[in-house]
Symmetry: C2
Subunit: 121 residues, 2 copies
């Protein structure tokens, strides 16, 4: 049996392209994904699921319709299902996302930022 020990920051160091999600682990029907981003995302929601963000390196802003949270390294937010949100990466930041394997990054706002074919690293 191959049970891999995954160092999250070492996986982050493997990422050399921006704005593309990489799968690092799976637990039941959930993926753990890393992404390095520098962009402003689109407003969207996931009507079917909560979504977890954990900042691994750097910081970013997570906007809701009524407030903006700034997430520094080690900060985590659970976005409840159905809640509109938009991430804003003013500088490069590495985030870990935890969500069902079927979750699409842009949720109900499919468009040119939608990414459906994800690589493992």
């Amino acid at each position: 049996m191959n049970i891999e020990k995954i160092n999250i920051k070492a996986k982050a160091n493997l990422i050399n392209v921006l704005d593309s999600y990489k799968i690092i682990a799976e637990m039941n029907d959930y993926y753990f994904k890393l992404v390095k981003e520098k962009r402003e995302f689109v407003w969207h929601k996931h009507p079917e699921t909560d979504e977890v963000f954990i900042t691994i390196e750097g910081k970013f802003k997570l906007a809701f319709r009524d407030k903006v949270s700034e997430l520094d390294e080690g900060d985590m937010v659970v976005v409840p299902k159905g809640v509109e949100h938009k991430s804003i990466f003013e500088d490069v930041c590495c985030v870990m996302l935890i969500e069902p394997k079927t979750t699409i990054n842009t949720g109900d706002a499919e468009g040119n930022l939608t990414e459906t074919e994800l690589e493992w690293i």
Copy 2:
């Protein structure tokens, strides 16, 4: 709406009792739990679910029947469902566990280490 920003290490700093799981977040039907442990656990498995361990502070050993992994800060392991394992904490270490809300710490080896009533912090 109250969407809390959770700093994982700040939550760990709130824990002043050993070997007792504290819930810090929920995502769908999963809990994120923190625990500070200094003990050798019992061999057990979770026949119904995978289980994620992430080391937050310190290090510990995760034993399988065929090997032992040493997990330092930032290391993560997904224990597949049905796989026997035992954690060994030689010094105090803080670990984050991610698993279904219904998962019991001792899995199929219920006994005096079983803990079913968990507090939120």
